[in-house]
């Protein structure tokens, strides 16, 4: 028996969400007495995956697109008792494509380990985090796609046997170009997010936001109107109709906290709000709040954090 886990890499190194995925698979596998098979195209040392619970590492040249990869995972998971895929941008396309070709049950947005395995039940976020659904998955080889950062990374030991396989990927479209900002933290997986809204007055004021993000190793994000007016790229828009984030720390600066914004960020573990208006609705959803002007508070916070980092 086995649980197959899709391991994504980023420029050859395993993604953090991939370690979380292997750990997820390990937890599930130990509930049913199965082994963890990690599927990766990375040449990074397989021992790294064994440290999170991988028993077998299949190295394979993975396809370039979700469809190509889903076809390969189908072949590799034919006998599997289940499949685990992190909910990264790629994972969010691979998981449903795989579910369709395998005719397997799928839970996306999963935020818990299996509550039970016969039947398989997990918790998942629904209605933009305004609800939590306990879902039951039936049939053979169900697929779990989880929200990055929702489970956490844990060390576990796996056998770490490595083998390589060749399965050609069938692509249905052609990739003609990719453009990826190097070194940027991808929002859905970020452990810390610094987000700013219309309170910042204009795009020229984002320097201090980027500085704050840099000290924290955080990704930057923004409210919807900010990307609508073109102050920041669409890809930074978080909320119900943007990217949903789940970091340990979410700092909201000059954002009022409209229900649609909260819907995409309220799953964050710790929320800090900086706003001039003590009545801003965001304070109700925050853990820590500062009533103050972003232009004064943010530079001070950057300095205080730098001092803290230097001292620790």
């Amino acid at each position: 028996m086995s649980i197959v886990v899709f391991v994504e890499d980023w420029n050859g190194a395993y993604k953090k969400a991939s370690f979380e995925a292997v750990g997820y698979a390990k937890n599930w596998a130990s509930m049913i007495g199965a082994k963890v098979i990690a599927v990766t195209s990375s040449e990074a040392p397989a021992a790294e995956l064994a440290d999170y619970g991988a028993d077998h590492c299949i190295q394979i040249s993975l396809g370039q697109t979700a469809m190509g990869i889903a076809g390969q995972l189908e072949a590799l998971s034919a006998d599997a008792s289940g499949v685990v895929i992190a909910g990264t941008s790629l994972g969010r396309s691979v998981a449903p494509a795989l579910a369709a070709i395998k005719e397997s049950a799928l839970s996306t947005n999963t935020i818990s380990l299996p509550l039970g395995t016969s039947p398989l039940q997990v918790k998942r976020g629904a209605f933009s985090s305004k609800g939590i659904e306990t879902i039951e998955l039936s049939g053979a080889s169900p697929i779990i796609s989880f929200v990055p950062n929702s489970i956490g990374i844990e060390n576990a030991s796996g056998e770490g046997v490595i083998e390589s396989q060749e399965i050609p990927a069938t692509e249905l479209l052609q990739v003609v170009g990719t453009e990826v900002a190097s070194g940027k933290v991808a929002l859905p997986e970020a452990e810390a997010v610094v987000s700013a809204g219309r309170g910042l007055k204009g795009p020229e004021n984002w320097g201090m936001i980027e500085e704050l993000a840099e000290v924290l190793g955080a990704a930057t994000a923004c409210s919807k109107p900010v990307s609508d007016i073109g102050w920041r790229p669409h890809s930074e828009h978080v909320g119900q109709t943007g990217i949903q984030v789940n970091p340990n720390l979410y700092i909201a600066i000059g954002i009022s906290g409209a229900i649609q914004h909260l819907a995409g960020v309220s799953a964050s573990k710790t929320i800090v709000v900086v706003n001039t208006d003590p009545e801003a609705p965001f304070f109700k959803a925050a853990d820590y709040g500062i009533v103050g002007d972003a232009f004064e508070v943010v530079p001070k916070l950057v300095n205080a954090l730098r001092a803290f980092k230097a001292a620790s």
């Binding site: 469809m67 369709a100 039951e136 249905l172 669409h234 819907a263 500062i290 954090l305 803290f308």
Partner: protein, 248 residues
């Protein structure tokens, strides 16, 4: 060009979400339903494509009769024809199968879905549909141009963008960027009047069952009271984040 826009009927973004007393489903009382915001971008994109190159736009929903006002609204915005597959789907795979059956029986050049529905936030139907139909698929699609039978699609990927080229037909999971917010169409009086006479065909469901089921819904635990920190004392915030929240 024959364009199919898949429309999901969802609670309005400002809706307060409540669950039925037994906790197994959404309580629709007092909830206003709308076209899924992601699908509004898709519908407007379809109108742009039609205006540039001619063709016809069909909007489709898999759902019970209560979703018809949403389809009528899509007609008022400018779709030519609506189809409702009469079913109360259990899960995304069932929705995708119903859509697939319809698509196979008709011929569409582009199938535009939204990246995700804001109700169950599955982000499942479009990729499933593409996989079932063995068609090219671009998720998180923020740009689409079509020349003859070739589509060029731009998708958001982690940390950037990818550009794809595909031979039609293809499936996209679209979002803001496909068209700009300011270009979104809203129904005007003429649209509303003409929507009344546009065809809304109801097709019987061809699938049963599903692979997942909702056991229970709950609301997330409420937040504890916010701790306010003085603006002059950001060091205190740093201390709290480190010692109390363990967030840094």
């Amino acid at each position: 060009m024959n364009i199919l826009v898949c429309i999901s009927h969802v609670p309005d973004t400002t809706a307060k979400i409540n669950f039925t007393a037994d906790g197994t489903s959404l309580d629709p009382a007092g909830v206003q339903f709308v076209i899924n915001p992601y699908d509004e971008f898709g519908l407007t994109k379809a109108l742009h494509l039609k205006e540039a190159q001619g063709g016809s736009i069909t909007v489709i929903n898999v759902g019970p009769a209560t979703t018809e006002p949403t389809l009528r609204k899509a007609l008022a915005i400018g779709a030519d024809k609506a189809v409702r597959i009469d079913a109360t789907p259990m899960d995304a795979i069932t929705v995708a199968k119903e859509l697939k059956n319809h698509i196979e029986a008709n011929s569409y050049d582009v199938i535009i879905c939204g990246q995700e529905s804001i109700d169950y936030n599955g982000q499942q139907v479009p990729a499933m549909l593409a996989a079932m139909l063995r068609l090219p698929f671009a998720n998180a699609c923020v740009g689409l141009s079509i020349q003859n039978s070739t589509a060029t699609a731009t998708s958001e990927i982690d940390g950037g963008h990818a550009t794809y080229e595909a031979t039609l037909p293809m499936v996209i999971g679209g979002k803001k960027g496909l068209v700009e917010e300011k270009d979104l169409r809203i129904p005007n009086m003429r649209g509303i009047m003409s929507a009344r006479t546009k065809p809304l065909e109801v097709i019987a469901s061809s699938e049963t069952g599903g692979l997942t089921s909702a056991v229970a819904f709950e609301k997330p635990a409420g937040k504890a009271e916010v701790k306010m920190v003085d603006a002059e004392n950001v060091d205190e915030l740093v201390r709290l984040l480190h010692e109390e929240a363990k967030a840094i």
